[in-house]
Amino acid sequence: MRRFTDLCLNPPLNDPKVIEKISKYSKLIGLNLVGFVFDKKSSENQINRIIEPFKTLGIDVVKRIDLTPKSRLELLQDLRKFRSKYEILSVNCLNTQVSVVASRDRRVDIVSIGYRISMFNIRKMINRIVNKPLEIKLSEILNPLNPRKFVLRRLHEEIFTAKKNKIPVIISSGAKNHLMLRSPRDMAAVGILLGLESDDALDSVSKIPYSIVERNRKKLSSKWIAEGVQIHRGSNN
């Protein structure tokens, strides 16, 4: 049986009512794991307070941070600072310089393309992404900053180019409140509408995000030394 996830929930962090409603609806629509976007200043106490209502409902929560660097240097500084604190690190690429570094750096988990990028540059940027999942946020369609037909056209282009380059796609809601949440199979249906195959669309809300989370949790655990090297101690030690 598939376990479903929404890797990007982005509500106001100091509004407990909104967070509680989101947790309630996340349970209703059958999410097993959610990724919560924190900002650079979030304290450990605040993070624990936000995670609590999800945990009581049996939903696993992943700490995530979204970086929007303007230059290569800024991205590298942020990666150094936040990699060990958050389980998911996503980079929103505003130019090709950043997208090249983000796609090559192993510390980056997810890449997304800024909404102001032209069609030509979208193709150019996605062509340079190697083995990094590309994220599509449903909130870009539900609350569009440009006319909706342009948003749909851009996302269609992103998915088409990602498919051509065999780049995995992740679909998440980017919900700011419970009204923007959508069930995982509904998000997959939008993925199909934008050009994904039905299996790939379902993987984009289940297998692909789960594999990233599992890999990163392993890396952040105290047992992890390097790729392929882990500490295993017997019960006697």
């Binding site: 209703l28 369609i141 539900l142 949440l181 199979r185 509904d186 997959a188 249906a189 509408l193």
Partner: protein, 96 residues
């Protein structure tokens, strides 16, 4: 299907919402292909059972997913369960 719409919907309005949502994404042809029918709508729980063509489930889901407002009212629709038979859906909604 669970609907959030600040107590504004009845069965007729829900029908209009569904038709509007499908037409906006898939057009008249999509509406013809999907062929939606409201089987039941409980205004208290805001839950509805809707029939559509089996081959167009994903199209129907996508159109419902992309709706955010209708007649200046905020609307959000979640598909809670799909099934091949209406009987099993009704059983499910009774058990909840």
């Amino acid at each position: 299907m669970k609907i959030i719409a600040d107590n504004y919907l009845n069965k007729e309005k829900l029908n209009s919402v569904i038709h509007f949502a499908i037409k906006r994404v898939h057009g008249e042809r999509g509406l013809m292909e999907i062929d939606p029918h409201i089987i039941s709508y409980d205004t208290r729980s805001n839950e509805a059972v809707i029939r559509c063509r089996n081959s167009s489930v994903n199209k129907f889901r996508a159109s419902l997913t992309l709706i955010t407002n209708f007649d200046d009212h905020v609307i959000s629709i979640f598909v809670l369960k799909t099934s091949g038979t209406i009987k099993s859906l009704k059983k499910e909604s009774k058990s909840q």
